[in-house]
Each structure stands twice: as structure tokens, then as C-alpha cells.
Amino acid sequence: MLAVWQKIKADVAGRPFISLLTLITIVSATMLLTLALATLLNLSQPYDRSFAELNGAHLWLYFDRAKVRRRDVERIELLPEVTESTGIQYSVTSRVQIDDTRVLVSIRRTPFQQPQVNRLLVQEGRYLLSNQTEVLASRDLSDLYGLGVGETLGVTRQDGKKVTLPVIGLAYNPTWDTYRNTQPPYLYVGESLFQELYPDEAIWEWSLGVRLANPEAVDETLARIEALLQTDAVRIHTDWRDVKRSANFGARLNFIILGAFSLFAILATVLVIVSSISAFVLSQFRQVGILKAVGFTQAQILWLYTGQYLVLGWIGCPLGLLLGLLLSPLPLKNIASSLSTTFQPPLNPWIVVAVLVSVPAVIVLATWRSAQRAAKANIVKAIATGAEAPAKKEAWLPRLAARLGFPIPFVLGLSDVFARPFRSLSTGLNLLLGVIGIVFALTLNETLETYKANPPLLGIPYDAIVTRGATGDSRVQYLLERAPGVEAFYGEHRVDVETLTGETFQVRAVDGDVTDFPFKILAGRAIRPGTVEVMAGQGLLDWLGLSVGDELTVVLGGWHHRPVTWRIVGAYTEPVNAGQMAMANFSTLARLLPDERPAIYYLKLVPNADTALLKRYLEPRPESDLNLTLAGQAIPGVVVYLQLALFALSGILIGIALVSVFNTSLLAVQEKLRVIGVLKTLGFIPSQVITMVNTTAGFLGLLAAVLGLPLGWVLTKSALAIMAKSYGFGALEVPLNVLYALALPLLMIGVSIAGSYLPGRRAARVSIVNVLRGE
């Protein structure tokens, strides 16, 4: 064993360039593996993690202020099921001005120190400071209206004066949800500022968040609480399980895509280690022959090479791990933010153990297999040829290229692709993963752009929305009929309904003719005014197992004896609540909703309508009751983060492919020195040698692009189709940009040539005399 150990030391120290190259490969692969595992760690159970860390409330109660007293709240807090409470939370629902848009929000009095229960996760900027005139905004305001830290918003005080407040941070609330809920986004202000804005406590709304001994017993606890209070004292409530479902639902796209990319990265890491190390070992073929000739046994040769690369692995692995741990916060903080959860530092024992065990294991595997092949080789042949015999017969493609009169360097480069099938396969797979990654990111980007440019595809067939406060419905309708630039409009009132089997969902009760609007109808047709018809979101049909043509019978709260039955005439793209909504004529529900009228109006504008004029018409004064909002086309921050993450990961995958191409090209050159020497002797000029090496790599790049393009597109299409179905979105249009399709092969050829350029130059500089003297 001493001889083996001495040889290990001599080999590692005596071949500094190869040792360094191996070390760099191991370090970069380990770093990538660490990043990939850290990403998976941050993707796992994001809601549970943030809920636990923020000590989220299991149940939020929004009270009817007139029906609840402080003593009632104290009685709730004393219930045995309740373990902790937020105390009474005060808020005022009001409109604030964000740029040109007035947005309904809940302005909440917030302590200067994060509370014990239901803390906020500050995702950007900072938390509130004592006695500062500033506001912390809900993350959703950023996603919906592009509100950012450092910007200002206008708040109307109780006395009617308008104040401008700076936004100092964006926060995530673990028990706030829009899913089947009517809670407006939150704005958090300090206690003194809240008092200053709304001095009259009588207008303050009350809510309470509680943590429960048994988090699953929300319904039972709610029933007990309601029993303690006056009827309908709890106006609405939020169940943490609904928020979790909603959060997990929202994070699903990120999870699937980032998870897939992490797995890609892990696979690429394994491939790069296997291809590089096995090629390194095989490039020492002559040495194996010599060692066997001087008496090394097969087992000793196995130990020798395994030991060599394990030594490098033991140096490179901790270094790569450390680098991965240090670099991971850069991408992962954004990913955690996009998942509305806390960043999970990857210094996790599982990651450390997984990396420190798996990388050396892959190294041993790669070395063992290759060393075994080398050790089994014929000694004389190994010494004479210095390399494992390549695939001997010329493949059909280079033969064809030769027959077609392609230049000799090109033909020989092509021939090298087939000379080492395993090496070409692993390098090609690395390139293929990179291509799939890019196609994934580009196709997703293209899909988003298409939908952004064509809102009806997203289920947004209107150009603007008008909301009303105290103004009556008929007055609004009167105004809209005469409004400049308005081609058509309909009013909407959302109603919670329940099927006869107990499923609850919301119905858009519409007043007007929706056939004037370009709804994306997935099947059947749109409802006609005055009919007992309904069109359903695809998600609702999937959920309830219904299809167009069926009947849908529902009841409204308190009207169980008077069910409503509609005929489903169409399925449409419903952009919210996972498509689990329906649209029916208001008239069919009017008898059950005698006091209700639409409060929101969807407008279709004439082409090139003067929206400024329309705004002045509907909102002549700053405090006007009507509020016009143009249909937003902003891509939510989550999607932007996702796109960035996808492009970053694609870049990493391409980087790995580049390393792989570099390694394999360099080793191929090393292994082919004799042939290169001979070719130069026969008259190959330096540029022809470079062309030959580049051709091998470039062909693999081209092949990867040609295969990866359709494969990546099909994979993306399938993934998005699954996502679209789960979002209740119906069939999704996934376009493939022709320019990208044409540019990608060029890009991959470029990447491959870049990766093989230095090895090619090295080959071109090979001294013929040294090579021939080696014989």
C-alpha cells in the first residue's frame, strides 16, 4: 500500500495542471450541487415554514363592530382551545392613491415591535420604526399595482385631508388571503400615525387572530366562538388551512419549475464529474500499462486511481460546499421571497452530509469504473497506444461528410464524436440539459409575453374597471351609458354559493351583456342576458366533475329552501380562484338578493379611447366616489423572480456544459496527441487543428440544440398544461419563438466552440517532435 500511496502523492503533485483541472471540476460541481440542494430545501413546505417562524394565527375573526365588546374578545381569548392571541387589531378600510389608481385597502394599526403572534415577514425594505410617518405595505400591492419601497401613496384622513406617506417596506402576512375571500390588501402604520389619521375610535374595525391548541379544530373553535357572541358578530373569518392551500397553490408553479431545474442541475453535476474523471483516468492509459508491467495488481491500480481522485475530492468537496453555502443567499433570498416564505440558510446538516457523501461517492464510481477498464487492458497495447482503443470503424456521418466533400478537419472532427461514444454522450447530455433549461425559460417568457399582450387569453376581456361607493347602481349605469369612449359595460356582484353536496364557490352575478366582451370561451358559448344560464370556469367544471350542457344547482346562504338551477352553456378562462368560479345573470339571483346591486363595472372601451378624459368624467374630483382602474398588464413580481431564477439557472446549466466541453475537449486532445502530431506532420495547419477540435464540440452543441429544442418545448408545454389545468385555466397557448429556435443552435455551437477553443489552441501548438519522440 505504501507504493500505492507514494504513487498517489507523486501523481497529484506531479501533474499540477490535470490535478488543478480536476479540482476545479469537483469544486464547481460540488458548489452547484449545494446550490441545487439548497434550492430544494427552500422549496420544501414554504408555507409551513413561514407560518411556524412567524407564529401565524390559525384563525382570524373580523367582527361586526356594533355587535362585539371588549369583554367578548376577552372571553374568546380565555377559551381552552385558544393558546395565544394577537389582541384586538384595529383597522380602517379606505381607498388610497397609488399613482393614478385609487385602491381599496385595510389600513391597520401596528405595534413598533413585531408582535408575538402573526409576525410579518418583511420581504423588502424594513419594518416600521417608532413615531415615524411611514407605511409598510402588503406584498400584494407591489404585485398588483407595482408599488415599491421608496415610493409614496396618498391616504385620506378622517377629516378629509390628504396626506402622502412613504412606503418603507413590503411585508407578507401569513394569514392574509384573497382566495375565496374579500379582504383588501393591508397597509400597516404605526399606532400614533393610525391615531392621527383616524382619531375617532368608533370607525375602527376590530379583528382578532388566535392560535389554537389543535390547529385542525378551526371549525369547532369557530362554532364555539360564534356561540359565545351575538348572531353574525363574526362578519367573516380566515382559516389558516385555506391560506395554506392558497399559498401552496400559488407556489406550485415555482416549486415545479425550480424543483425541475434543481434536479437538472444535480444530474448535470453527476454527468460532469463522471465524464471528466472517467476521461482523466482513461487519458492515463499508458501509465496503467506501465504500472501493470512493473507489477501493480489490478486491485492496486483501482486503489491508486480511486485514491488520487478521492484525495482531490476531499480537498475540492469542502471548498465547493463552502462556496455554495456562501453564494446561495444571492439567488435563494429571491426564491424564498417569491414563495412568500423565510429564507432557509443552507447550512443544514442534511445538505452538508448529502454533499460530502454523494460527491465522493460519484467520484469513486466514476474512477472505479474507468480504472477497472484501464486495469483490464492488455499491457502491451496500453503502453503502445497510450489510450483505450477508440471506436474503430468510421461512423456513417463522417463518411457521408467526406463523400459530400466537406473539408478534412471537419470530417475528422466529426469522426471524433463517434470515436468515444460515452464521452460524447455525457458531454452531449450536459449540453442538452443546458438547452432544455434555456428553452424552458424562453418559452415561459414567450408565453407570458403573449398573454400579457393579449389579456383576453388570461380571462381579462375588459379594458377598465369602475368601482362605486355610495353612488347608486342606477346612477353609475346612467353615467357609464354616456361616458366618453365606453363601448360596452356590465356590472358584477359576487355571491357565495353552495352546491347541494356542500362545495362552496363564488358566482359572478353579472348585469349586462357579456357577449360584447371577448371572453376566452373554452367550450360552448357565453351566457345571454335574461337567461337562466351559467358559464363556468374550467377549474369549477373540473372540480365538480361537470361539463357544458349539465345543470348546476346551488343555494345561497340563508336560502336553502330556494335553490337556483342553471344550465351550463359554456366554459371560460377564469383568472382567479383557480378557475373555480361561475358567471350567471344577476337577474336569476335578484329575487334572492333583494338588497344587493352590482358595485363593480367592467368596461370595454372603443379603440384608442381617451382614458384621461374618461377618468376626468368619472372622477371629476380627487375624492370622487367612483374609481376607474385600467386593466393592469403588469407581470406579478413572483413571475419576474421566477423568470430571473430560470434564466440564472439556465446560465448555470450552460456554464456546466461549458466546463464539460472544456474538460472533454482538453482530455480528447491529450489522448489524441499522437494523431494530432501525425496530422500536423502530414500538413495540418494550426487553424485546421483548431477547426477539428471545434467541430467535435460544435457538432455536440448542434445536436444538443436540435434535440433539446423540441424536447424542451414539449416538456415546457406539458408542464404548463399541467399547471394551467390545476389553475383551472383550460388549454394554454405555448408559443415557440422562431427567432429563438433559429438562434439556439447557433448559441449552442458558439458555447461549444468557446468551451473547446483553448483545448483546440493547445492542440494546434503541440510539438510534433515531442509527440513523435514519445514513441
Binding site: I408, K680, I685, S687, Q688, L772
Partner: protein, 244 residues
């Protein structure tokens, strides 16, 4: 008459770290067109270095190598490669054929590199050479399917396809059995008889005896020259040179 190859005061020094080794020390030599020269000498005497310099595979540290009036050291890498492919043919001890190309493709390779656009003409030339060397029936095979002697014939065909000015052979029989070796020497003689200039490095007196002229080299210097044909005399000179 201007010699085909003119070597003037050539020195070649190899440096490896602090160690320097003078492979050639002031060698001057002329080779006439149509000559067949054998270079003999003990291991490390500089004979292969001389062949490398004449073939433009290496550059002299001092002195001048001219082939057909072209000073090789004045050419850059690309020009030198182009000169090699047009004017020099090489035959190696270990054949150095490209394994994954057929015999036909191996032979045609230098001609295609030389810019042989007319592939049919290249094929005809290759076939003619292969036929003359008696291996046309092996044309579609790969080098590893042939015997050593056959492989060396392929190497000769490859070296001659561009009708080089100078054919350089480095121990062409060193890796062959005696029958195959004789065979190869006979072929070289035949080509020389038709006007092909040949320079051959060899350890074998019998092989050197096939040349018109034999030169001996020791410690980087030319020490003796004699006509070929007499193997016994050559063997004695070599023995005197090596002290065996």
C-alpha cells in the same frame, strides 16, 4: 548542380529546465535530387533530429536547412505545414495511421489536404499506389485489420500520394519482421529508382545497405560517409562508431 537538400552548420540544442542537450553540432550536408541516403548512428546521436529538421517538423537553433531552395526556418507555422504537405512525405516506425479511417481514406488524406478538389483523380492516384504496393484489395479495411507490413505499405502510399520532393523514413523497418522489412526496403528502392529522393534513418546495416549513400553521425556530428550496397562494411563502421 544545386542540391535538393542543403544543410549548413546546423545546430540543435534542447533545453529542459536547467539541462541543455546539443543534439546536432554544426552539421552540414547536401543531398542531391534522386539520392537515397541512409543515416546511421547510435541512440541519441541526433539522426532523428536531423530528419525532423529536414522535414520541417522542428527548427534549428543555428544554421540553415534548405529544401528545394526554400529556407525552412524562414517559414511560419502555417507556411511550414503547407510546405510539408506539398514537398515532404513521412514514413514512421509505428506507421502512425489514423485508426478510424479506412486504408483508402488514410492514403487520400494528404492529397485532400493539399487541396485535391477532383476527388476522382485523388481516388485514382491512391488506387494506383495501393495497387502498386499490393494492397488495393485492403482499401476498405481499417489499419487495425492489417498486418504490420501491410500497414507500413499504407504509410508509404500515404507518404507518396502527393509525389513529394523528399521522402523521409524514420526506422521504417524497425517494427517489422525481417520478411516485411525486406519488402518495405525493396519498395523504397523501386521508388528511388524512379527518381524519388529518400532519406532514411535506421539502425539496421542491411537496411542501410539498400541506400546509395550512408552517413554516420555521432554526438551530433557527421563523422563518416560511404557508399551503400556493402552491408558488411556498414556494419563494421557502425560497430566502430558505437564501440561494440
Amino acid at each position: 548542380m544545386i542540391p535538393l537538400v542543403k544543410i549548413v552548420d546546423v545546430e540543435k540544442v534542447y533545453k529542459t529546465g536547467a539541462v541543455t542537450f546539443a543534439a546536432l553540432r554544426g552539421v552540414s550536408l547536401d543531398i542531391a535530387d534522386g539520392d537515397f541516403v541512409a543515416v546511421m548512428g547510435p541512440s541519441g546521436s541526433g539522426k532523428s533530429t536531423l530528419l525532423h529538421l529536414m522535414g520541417g517538423l522542428d527548427r534549428p537553433t543555428a544554421g540553415r536547412v534548405e529544401v528545394k531552395g526554400v529556407v525552412l526556418s524562414a517559414l511560419d507555422e502555417t507556411a511550414l505545414a503547407k510546405f510539408r504537405r506539398a514537398h515532404i512525405g513521412f514514413i514512421f516506425q509505428f506507421f502512425n495511421l489514423i485508426d478510424n479511417l479506412t486504408i483508402q481514406a488514410n492514403v487520400e488524406l494528404p492529397a485532400l489536404l493539399q487541396g485535391g478538389r477532383d476527388r476522382k483523380a485523388v481516388r485514382r492516384r491512391a488506387d494506383a499506389l495501393l495497387e502498386r504496393l499490393g494492397i488495393l484489395d485492403q482499401a476498405s479495411k481499417h489499419p487495425w485489420e492489417l498486418s504490420g507490413g501491410q500497414q507500413q505499405r499504407v504509410a508509404i502510399a500515404r507518404a507518396l500520394i502527393n509525389q513529394p520532393t523528399l521522402l523521409l523514413a524514420d526506422e521504417p523497418t524497425g517494427n517489422l519482421d525481417s520478411v516485411s522489412g525486406q519488402d518495405v526496403l525493396r519498395i523504397l528502392q523501386e521508388f528511388n529508382a524512379q527518381g524519388q529522393t529518400i532519406l532514411m534513418v535506421t539502425h539496421d546495416a542491411a537496411a542501410a545497405a539498400q541506400a546509395k549513400q550512408v552517413i554516420f553521425i555521432r554526438d551530433g556530428r557527421l563523422v563518416e560517409a560511404m557508399p551503400g550496397r556493402d552491408a558488411q562494411q556498414i556494419a563494421q563502421s557502425l560497430a566502430a562508431l558505437t564501440g561494440t
